[in-house]
């Protein structure tokens, strides 16, 4: 079984060799100095990189990996400790990031390496320019002489679809992290069993929405509208709306008059952001969206369709019942109006992940979370933060999941 090792840049190697290297050598520890230094150097280079200017999501990644943020996470980690618990890494973590969210593989690795784990990350064979670039950057930082430790505990590899390889790696893993899809998760569980002691963090297909207080949006001045539009744009359009946290439904809270005023200002502003940033969907994706729209009209409660330039299509629905959670990505938003958030109490399901909000009160948001009681929705965050992969994701506390808690009682 041969794999291509991209980070460190080692070319084709036999899998047993890669696994042996990761298994040998001293174990890491949470928030080790050399790991923090590596992340900081990587982030610093990324922030001054011209490529990052074109890809705002790379800048967000860099912000997570800079020293100040890492030290904050370290303090948070230490504050969450107990004198009778020693937190240690699991060992080898096997990451299977999705192909369609380019930067996710770095996030996945960062959370795990901060916990002190060794990591094997499988990269998609269909690599994008952004992924290539990140790999080159990371490999060059790992090449430096004072990074021998972190270098020994990382392999980012590629291999063409081969269940045998996935199974061989899984058999040696202490933790496996699978970032969707539902079909991939099911296949991997079938084809690549984990050892009995190992745990799996699985991030299945999710659905997300946006809730806007109509009155608040309608009463924004132009600057405020533009700022809100920028944030909505980054939530919706990064990764072509294919990320699970990207909103696909906009729920306006307010009466019809307020909503009419608000939407007339917001959607054109969002389209203007897309134009300013030169965003255009691919032809094939555009046609796919058009086909989806026609199917949605036949299958669901769609009553109207408005396009705001080529980037954004909004489908109005007159009720949420019968609205399927299918979605093509590529700048499509369902739109509904409700008098309050209570309207979605019964509609939310486990698949619903992120609700981004603007113009709604603390009581309304906390009230929703309480009334839902775990039906669904794992994150309620302000507009603009949908795609920020944080410590709490899909109901997991990544900071806690990636370490083991050793309980020590003396006498």
């Amino acid at each position: 079984m041969i794999v291509r090792v991209r980070v460190p840049a080692a070319g084709e190697q036999a899998l047993p060799t890669v696994l042996a290297r990761l298994g040998d050598g001293p174990r890491g520890e949470p928030f080790a100095d050399d790991v923090l230094e590596l992340c900081n150097r990587f982030a610093t280079r990324l922030m001054s990189d011209p490529v990052a200017r074109v890809h705002p999501e790379l800048l967000t990644l860099a912000m997570l990996m800079r020293k100040p943020e890492l030290m904050r996470l370290k303090r948070e980690f230490e504050a969450g400790g107990r004198p009778d618990v020693v937190r240690v890494p699991h060992g080898l973590v096997f990451h299977l990031p999705p192909a369609h969210v380019d930067t996710l593989f770095v996030y996945s690795w960062v959370w795990s390496v901060l916990a002190g784990n060794s990591n094997l990350v499988r990269l998609s064979s269909r690599s994008s320019p952004a992924v290539e670039h990140l790999c080159e950057l990371l490999a060059s930082e790992l090449d430096r002489p004072d990074m021998a430790g972190p270098r020994a505990r990382l392999a980012m590899i590629q291999y063409a679809h081969d269940p045998a390889i996935t199974a061989a790696i899984s058999a040696r893993a202490d933790v496996r992290i699978v970032w969707g899809s539902d079909a991939t998760i099911a296949a991997i569980r079938r084809e690549a069993p984990l050892p009995p002691h190992a745990r799996e963090l699985s991030f299945s297909d999710r659905w997300s929405l946006l809730a806007l207080g109509a009155e608040a949006v309608a009463s924004l001045h132009d600057t405020g509208t533009d700022q809100l539009a920028e944030r909505v744009w980054s939530d919706v359009f990064w990764f072509d709306q294919l990320g699970c946290a990207a909103p696909r439904l906009c729920l306006w809270i307010g009466d019809r008059a307020q909503v009419a005023a608000a939407r007339a200002r917001l959607w054109p502003a969002v389209a203007a952001v897309a134009t300013r940033r030169g965003y255009r969907p691919e032809v094939g994706a555009r046609l796919g969206r058009e086909l989806f729209i026609h199917r949605a009209v036949l299958d669901g409660p769609v009553i109207a369709r408005t396009d705001f330039g080529p980037s954004l299509a909004v489908l109005r629905v007159d009720r949420l019942d019968g609205l399927r959670r299918d979605h093509p990505g590529t700048g499509l938003l369902f739109e509904a109006v409700a008098p309050s958030l209570a309207s979605i109490d019964r509609w939310v399901v486990r698949k619903d992940q992120t609700l981004t909000h603007f113009g709604l009160s603390r009581q309304e948001l906390l009230g929703l979370a309480e009334r839902l009681g775990g039906r669904g929705i794992d994150r309620i965050v302000p507009v603009g933060q949908a795609m920020q992969l944080g410590r709490f994701w899909d109901g997991y506390d990544l900071g806690a999941e990636l370490v083991r808690a050793v309980h020590v009682v003396v006498g």
């Binding site: 369609h100 072509d240 940033r277 032809v283 094939g284 994706a285 026609h294 036949l298």
Partner: protein, 370 residues
């Protein structure tokens, strides 16, 4: 949909279709064709809105409902993929005589033809084939498996084979049950018929991947043959073979010079574009091509590449008269009579590329290049 469409009522649109079927195949000036087709298609749009509840719902929500259409380009279109997922029918189920299955469609997906539509599709194929092959029935070498018609009787491919077989004096299948070229069959056919005019028909991919390598190595003489090849476009975007190269290689290898590429949708049987001597594709009198900007879906002028929309006056039993394909193309010129054909002269570029999306702001690889 649960509402059953009403029977009959298609006489006026049927006779418009018949008139266009009887018109000179490539003899209408574009202006004249635009006028006649837009009238026929506007009537078809109204007909399908009245007869097919799903079509009425789509056109109500997405195309402004009941309205007048002054020009062909104003007519609504359906994405061709809709027939893979939904049943769209404008006649009662009892009047359907054939359902042509669509590639990638589920078990109930398909094109529902009533007697009249099926007859017109067959007539259309006949007209196109005779224009290329001549009036007299010819011996025909099908670059297909003989078992295909029995094995997938509902496929568009089988339908095409049946229609063409009816025009042939005799038919020989060049591929064996395993899909490999049957050397004995081919050489036998040529030994009997190769010295006089004969026809060959097949998918472009089969011609290039199987037929060409074989004839090149067997040293066959195909100089009396006429080849019609079509489809297989999905595979061909992966291959590196353009039409001009294919023609040159066939001419060199086997003396085959009468070669016509044919383009059409399985969802619009009979509405096929044929390759002229200038290498461009010509729509028949009863069908046409509109090129649309992929971002705005506005009609694009001659010379600008975009997404191909196909219109056909033939579909009366299902709302397939105006379909947006997944192909890119360009109208190179109009009414320039280089090979006895008027109307639009089209080049089909290939499938619209569809990669998994990248991050926002990245130049997208699907840029349409003429």
């Amino acid at each position: 949909m649960t509402v059953e469409p009403t029977a009959g009522g298609g006489d006026a649109i049927g006779s418009r279709a018949d008139e266009l079927l009887a018109a000179p195949l490539h003899g209408l000036r574009q202006e004249d064709k635009d006028a006649r087709l837009s009238e026929a298609l506007a009537a078809l749009t109204q007909h399908h809105r009245a007869a097919c509840a799903a079509y009425r719902r789509i056109t109500d929500v997405l195309a402004g409902g009941e309205r007048r259409y002054a020009r062909l380009a104003e007519l609504p279109w359906l994405p061709v993929g809709l027939f893979r997922s939904h049943e769209l029918r404008s006649v009662p189920a009892a009047e359907v005589v054939t359902t042509v299955s669509v590639v990638g469609g589920g078990p109930s997906a398909g094109i529902h033809l009533d007697r009249a539509t099926a007859a017109r599709s067959t007539r259309a194929i006949e007209r196109v084939a005779r224009a290329l092959l001549g009036a007299a029935p010819l011996p025909m070498l099908m670059i297909e498996r003989g078992g295909l018609v029995a094995g997938e009787p509902r496929s568009a491919r089988a339908g095409g084979i049946r229609a063409l077989s009816a025009l042939a004096s005799e038919v020989c299948f060049a591929l064996d049950a395993g899909g490999e070229l049957d050397q004995a069959a081919v050489e036998g056919f040529l030994a009997t018929h190769g010295a006089r005019p004969f026809a060959m028909v097949g998918h472009t991919a089969s011609v290039w991947e199987q037929f060409y390598p074989a004839i090149a190595s067997w040293g066959l003489d195909l100089s009396h043959g006429t080849l019609l090849h079509s489809g297989g476009r999905r595979r061909l975007t992966v291959q590196v073979i353009d039409n001009a190269t294919l023609k040159a290689k066939l001419a060199t290898a086997a003396g085959l010079t009468r070669i016509h590429n044919v383009y059409g949708l399985g969802e619009q049987p009979g509405a096929v574009l044929v390759e002229g001597e200038d290498g461009l594709l010509y729509p028949p009198a009863f069908a046409d091509v509109v090129i649309r900007d992929p971002m705005t879906f506005d009609e694009l002028p001659t010379g600008k590449a975009g997404v191909v929309q196909m219109v056909s006056a033939l579909p009366t039993s299902y709302p397939g008269h105006s379909l947006l394909t997944e192909d890119l193309g360009v109208v190179e010129r109009v009414d320039v009579d280089v090979c006895g054909r008027l109307g639009k002269a089209v080049r089909i570029i290939g499938r619209a590329p569809h990669h998994r999306a990248r991050g926002a702001g990245e130049p997208f690889p699907g840029e349409v290049a003429p």
